[in-house]
Every structure is written in structure tokens, then in C-alpha cells.
Symmetry: C2
Subunit: 449 residues, 2 copies
């Protein structure tokens, strides 16, 4: 049983059946590289069978800490950037609500994300939002040296110490970091923080189902065992060599074929605001895995129907190098009947008797047709509902797809060499110890741009 239906009907006029057929040997090869750990970056493929082998002790430890936070604090501040931020944020929105913090019952714990930017204004405002509510901190960084997270942690540690004293602060910090090494590990061991582990064999953008994503989810009351069970089901479904039953292979193949035809930008779209951050998570997963060696599909996103009244005009009639993948939810958790009015002054009487979700679903159908007619290949990833099991499988589906896809591109899906370029420039300009030789060079450069 799969929780996902991959629907490629909307590319029928763009991709012929034989094209898939001809790509199958390459797909099989990509799978082989991945499963036999012979592809580039194979040290970072532990996510492949992570969920089905999840350590029970680790699970209990996550749940113990989640309970501790829930009992201790009104607010959890999750400090992290990239994969240490987007996975948990996406899961919270998907399972709960973009208004998660506004919809809590008394006694539940709010969750705010920090350390994902360097803005002083944003940090100052967040500190004001938290105000005098009791709070705990989950700082997430494998090395401890990610500038954004480490800096942000300094501020929140200071705030904790001012509020609760040194010992009280230590009791309210959970460090999710490397098991043995790194500055955060050392600090945690010295100070006596609670800790969870960022494993070695899984890169940041694949880490949502490790303690990195699971602790914030558990604090929010998401059943993380079910999420892991969904991902484990994904392992069964998307590791198969059978093209016709393996949606991850179909998706990877469709993307590769479209790219070669000049469809170089992919829009991940959805019709639920609660999936907006799913697209943000996806953009990191795809863009950081594939965008290298001057190639790869550019990851973009759209939120319907809002963006149909924005750059939807471009999607319909702009340059024809776009394709879209729409995540569709077939059964929404809640629904509303279109209200009846005696006057029909707005001309919407024809919608009475329908539910709001029926209108939303029909709009989605209409947009698919309109976009296909406009020359935009349309893929759909259909899920029955937004529940834990589906979330886990969905995560695995996209992770598996991008790994296969990158191997089809001849790219290492698991490194991110380009991220170093900006760090080097930034560290040189900030005169970080060790960057003395670059420092002068970049300062000169800055004068001349």
C-alpha cells in the first residue's frame, strides 16, 4: 500500500512512452549505484534504510526530552539553519498548521525557529515575542560552527542565563549535534546539556527523520513513530526496481526527460497553505542535491490559488522552460459548506451545495488543464491526507527521487561544494582566524565591486 499516487498524465503530450522505456537501463544503473554504495557521495546514504532501522533507545530518548520540554516550558526555540530548520518547520505546518502557535490549547508548547538568518531586527523581535514566557532551547548543528546557529545560540544562552541562572540554563538546553566531535559536542559535554545525535552518514537536507527533525515534531505532539513507519513503508515502495510500480523512479525519469527538452525550472505547487514550507524543504533537497557543475533543475515554488493571481500569468504565458509538480491532498482534514445567501448579490449561487474543498479541488483540476494547454508539463503527487504516515512516505519519496535523479545527471547528490564559496568570502571579510591570507584579497575585491 502506498500513500502516494504519482500522476504523470499531465506530461503525456510532452513525453512519449518510449522515452521512459529507453531511460530504464540508466535508472537501474542509478539505483545500483545508490544501493551498492558505489555512487558519488555514498558515505551519505544512511537515510536509505534509516527509518526501518531506527534505534529504539534513540526514539525513547527523543520522547523523554520532548516530554521534559513540554513540562518545563511554554516555548521551545529551535535554533538551526538549512536542514536543521526546514524539515521541522515543514512537518509542523503539514501536520498541525502554519498558525500552530496560535491554535494551541493551554499548556501546550509553542515552537519558534531562530538561527536561520543573521538579521538583528528579526532576532530582537523574536525575543520580544517570547517575552516572559518560560522557554527552552534546542540548538542543532553538527559541527557547532555554523555561524547563524552558533551566533543565535549565544543570544538565547545569554537570555536563559539571565532568566534562570547558569544551572537553570543548562537544564533548558538540548544540543542536537555530532556524537563525538565538534565545538557544540565539547561544550555540551563540559556544561552538561542534554544531547541528541546528528548521525554521520546523513547530510543536513536528508536529516528530517533523525533527531534533528524528530525532537521538534515530538514536542508539537506529532506521533514520530508513525512518521518513521511511513518512511519505512516508503523504503519498501521506492526501492523497487519495478518502474511501473515505483513512483520515485517515474518522477526521477520524468524530471530528467523534461530537463533535456529544455524544461529547466520546476515549480513545486500545492493548494494548501499548510504545504508552503513543504515546498521550502523540497527546494533545499532538490537545489542543494542537483544544482552543481553548472547544471540541474532550478527549484521554484508556488502556492495556489494565491500565486495564480501573482506570477501565475508568467506560468501560463511566459517562457516555456517551466514544468510543475503539484502536491495534491485528496481528503482534507476539515471542510466547510459554501454559505447560502438569499440575494446571490455576488453571483456565487452556482457554488451553493458544494463544499469549499470541492471548489478548491476543481480549481486545481482546471489549472492543470490550463497549464498543460499553455505548454507547462504537469506532474502530480497525490496524497490521501495529511497524516504522519503519509508525511514519512512523502519525505522518503522525494529523497529517493532526487538521489536517483542526481545520479542520472552524473552529479554527487550528497555534497554542497558551492556553500563553501560564500562562507570563505564571509569569513575572509570578517577576519576569522585562519582566513588571514584571503582577508586582504576579499577586502580589495569588495572595494572594486
Amino acid at each position: 500500500m502506498t500513500a502516494i499516487q504519482f500522476d504523470s498524465h499531465g506530461v503525456k503530450t510532452f513525453i512519449k512512452e518510449h522515452e521512459y522505456e529507453e531511460l530504464k537501463p540508466q535508472l537501474a544503473m542509478a539505483q545500483k549505484l545508490l544501493f551498492e554504495k558505489k555512487g558519488a557521495g555514498s558515505d551519505y546514504t544512511d537515510w536509505v534504510n534509516w527509518a526501518s532501522n531506527f534505534d529504539q533507545q534513540e526514539l525513547q530518548e527523543i520522547q523523554r526530552l520532548a516530554k521534559k520540554v513540554q513540562q518545563q516550558s511554554k516555548v521551545l526555540v529551535v535554533i538551526g539553519i538549512g536542514g536543521s530548520y526546514l524539515g521541522a518547520k515543514m512537518a509542523l505546518d503539514f501536520m498541525k498548521s502554519p498558525w500552530y502557535n496560535d491554535l494551541l490549547e493551554d499548556g501546550q508548547t509553542k515552537i519558534y525557529f531562530a538561527g536561520n538568518n543573521l538579521s538583528a531586527m528579526a532576532l530582537q523581535q523574536l525575543l520580544r515575542v517570547i517575552g516572559d514566557q518560560d522557554f527552552s532551547v534546542n540548538v542543532i548543528s553538527k559541527s557547532g560552527q555554523t555561524t547563524e546557529a552558533a551566533l543565535s545560540f549565544r543570544f538565547f544562552k545569554q537570555a536563559l542565563e539571565e532568566r534562570y541562572g547558569r544551572e537553570g540554563a543548562v537544564d533548558r538546553i538540548i544540543a542536537t549535534t555530532d556524537q563525538k566531535k565538534g565545538t557544540l559536542r565539547e561544550e555540551a559535554d563540559t556544561a552538561g546539556y542534554e544531547t541528541l545525535v546528528v548521525p554521520d552518514g546523513i547530510g543536513g537536507r536528508f536529516s528530517v527523520l533523525t533527531a534533528v527533525g524528530l525532537l521538534p515534531m515530538a514536542v508539537a505532539g506529532i506521533d514520530i513513530e508513525k512518521v518513521l513507519a511511513g518512511a519505512a513503508a516508503g523504503e519498501e515502495n521506492y526501492r523497487s526496481a519495478n518502474f511501473s510500480s515505483n513512483a520515485a523512479l517515474q518522477y526521477a525519469a520524468s524530471r530528467r526527460i523534461l530537463y533535456d527538452k529544455g524544461y529547466t525550472t520546476e515549480i513545486l505547487a500545492s493548494w494548501e497553505p499548510s504545504l508552503q514550507y513543504f515546498a521550502e524543504w523540497w527546494k533545499q533537497l532538490m537545489g542543494e542535491s542537483e544544482g552543481k557543475n553548472l547544471k540541474g533543475i532550478y527549484p521554484s515554488s508556488a502556492n495556489y490559488s494565491t500565486d495564480l493571481h501573482s506570477f501565475g500569468q508568467y506560468i501560463q504565458e511566459g517562457r516555456r522552460d517551466l514544468f510543475e509538480t503539484v502536491v495534491r491532498v485528496d481528503e482534507v482534514a476539515s471542510d466547510l459548506d459554501v454559505p447560502k445567501t438569499p440575494e446571490n448579490s455576488d453571483g456565487l449561487a452556482y457554488l451553493e451545495g458544494k463544499t469549499l474543498d470541492q471548489v478548491n479541488q476543481t480549481a486545481a483540476d482546471g489549472v492543470a488543464i490550463a497549464h498543460i494547454d499553455g505548454g507547462v508539463p504537469n506532474l502530480a503527487v497525490r496524497i490521501a491526507k495529511q497524516d504522519e504516515r503519509t508525511l514519512g512516505e512523502l519525505i522518503y519519496f522525494f529523497e529517493m527521487s532526487v538521489a536517483i535523479s542526481a545520479y542520472l545527471f552524473g552529479i554527487n547528490p550528497f555534497n554542497q561544494p558551492g556553500v563553501e564559496a560564500y562562507k570563505t568570502a564571509m569569513f575572509a571579510l570578517l577576519e576569522k582566524p585562519g582566513y588571514e591570507s584571503e582577508s586582504q584579497l576579499y577586502k580589495e575585491r569588495l572595494k572594486n565591486i
Copy 2:
């Protein structure tokens, strides 16, 4: 005095001086078309001198209604989509905070946006968030027939009537709509709602400085006279024919030259979370104005530094068809010193003595260099600060730039023919009266995709 510094140093290696020189006659022609109302879509160019001619009575009316809402309600629900949503949302974030509703003093009015999607789950959650707080509604739709807004209005009208009775509901509705015609105008006049006007000669994406955007801004306590004064200053600065002093011409020219060299996607980036929705507003302005006739620059956005740890890898090393325009704020409203720690366990001691904003600014400098080195042309729009005057000028700057830019492309900047395509498909599938003949056709189509 301009509030904006346009910085094209980061395209020096991509555009030679003579290329600008050679484009000047076309720029002059585009300006002429716009100012003499001889270009395509010239019926929709009233925004060009709107702010400097702003009707004083209208201004007083907006301020009277803002005060009424402030006195009457804890919550204002702004119902609108596209230009009837993004302008006000962008202004609120820019001038106040993305956490605007969480940072209010007692007695101030929260603002929520609705009617910008068709999601039943989102609407139901929003109704729960509002709960039993007193609320008023500002419904914004020129025709009254925008499906999203009209549907949403039915729900909130129902909620108002249940809470306050028929008359009480009427007293809490402000309709921003056409002056004379349309279903919402008729309903408003019949029922006796307060009303404000969506003018004829200004399209939705250019409407932020009309009552559409100004009422929500005024309710939030933004000084709208200053915003208008900023836009009026923009009129002086960006209507000049002098290329070297007119940043809007420089920006339009840079975009056009880059596009012709294959840089077909533009990323609007910023380093402040409070500018995230500025980019969303910009995406509509640019994408809906330029994305037609199978051409135009694809509008994308990035929030730094968060997205540097996401698809930043792609920006640095993916396909070289990207350029970026970074909105930089030179003086942030608030700042924080990097906290000192005796241990330096995180290795950040080299940042002590700096402010957080200095780190942010230096990171921005470093990223500009890294991206230029990576082959990404880099434009910067620098503002001194996030204040009303700057906001007004910034809005005018981008509006003028895209009008000129679209005329350089030979495109009508002011229509949006592609938006009809999805509406037709949707209305046909929903069996809207008048779409009987299309209905069967689209239902057949749906079966076959």
C-alpha cells in the same frame, strides 16, 4: 534626494558600458510611450502620477475608517487576492514586523489576510485563530466576482451576522471596490457598507498606494501620508530622462541586457525576514507584467542567509541563467551586540565587539562577491532604512522599472490575459452559468489527463 541607491557594480563583468549606451534610445522611447500614454495598456497608467495628486478627501476617508476599525475591533480581516493582498501584507511586514500580530500593545488591532486561497482547512483554522475577538472586515475586489475573495466574504459575513446581527455586521464591513459598478458595489450600496474606491486606471498589482493597500496600512498605524510622499518623491526621481541619475532606467536596462544574454531568471533577495513579502509583491508585479507572449524574466525570490543553506548551492553552481537583485538595508532599526563568552567554546570570539548587523552586512558583501565569482550577475537596491518614505519610493521605483522594462520587451505591462485561462477552465468545471458550452469540453479533457 533619493532614498534608493541602485548599485550595478556587480554586473560590470557581465555588461559593458557601451551596451547601456546603445540601449538609451530604446529607453527614451519606452519612457515616451509611457508618459504620452501611447504604449500598450495606456489606460492603466494612472499610477504614474497618482501619489502626487492624491485626493485629500479620499485620504481623510481612509483615515476615518481606519480609526473606526481601531476603535471597533481587535481584529481586521482583509479579504483579497493578488494585488488586493500582497501590497498590504508586504507593507505591514516592511514597516512593522512579520510578527506584527504578536507584537501589538494592548488595544491595537491585529490584521489577518483571508480570501487569498481556496483552502477549507486554512479558512477553518483562521476562524479558530480569530475566535471570539471582535472583528471587522475589509473586503477588496474591484468587480466583486473574484472567486476567492467573494467566497471568503460569504464566510466572514456569515460569521459577522451570527455574532453581531444583520445591522451590526453591516457596520463592520468596509468594501473597497469599483466606484460605480460591479456586484460588490451594488451589494455595498444596497446594504449600506462603508466603501472605498478601487480606481479605474490602475491595475491590481499597481494598486498598493490606493485605498486597496492604504486602509490596512492605516489600521496598522503606518503613516500613509508619508508613504504617499515617498512615492511622490519617486515620481520626481524616476521620471527623469537622465539615465545617469535615474535608477529605474538603469535597473530596467540592466535587466533587459542580462535577459538577452541568457540570464532569464531573476532572484529578488534580501537579508531581512521583514522583506520576504516584499519579494512576493515584486514577483506579482514583475511576473504578471512581463510574463507573456512566451517571454519575460522569470521572477523568483530568496531570503538570505536562510536560503544560502538551501538552494544557495544552486545559485552558486547550477545553470548560469540566473541573476540576482538584492534589496539591502543599510541602517537597521534595531541592533544587538554579539554576546561575549569567556570560554569561546564555539570559536566565535572573533565576532565579539561587532554587532549582529555588522555580521549580516558583511555576509551580504561576501555573498555578492561569491555569486559574482560564480557567474551570477549581482544588482543591488540599497535603502538607508525601512521607513514610510523609503517604502513609497521603493514601490514607485519597481513600478516604473517594470513598465519601462516591459515596453523594452514590446509587451503590454498592464494586462494579464493568461489569468483568464485558468478561470475559464475552473468556471467550466464548476458549471458556472455562462460556461455551459465549455463545461462538457473541459470535463472530457479532465478524464483524459
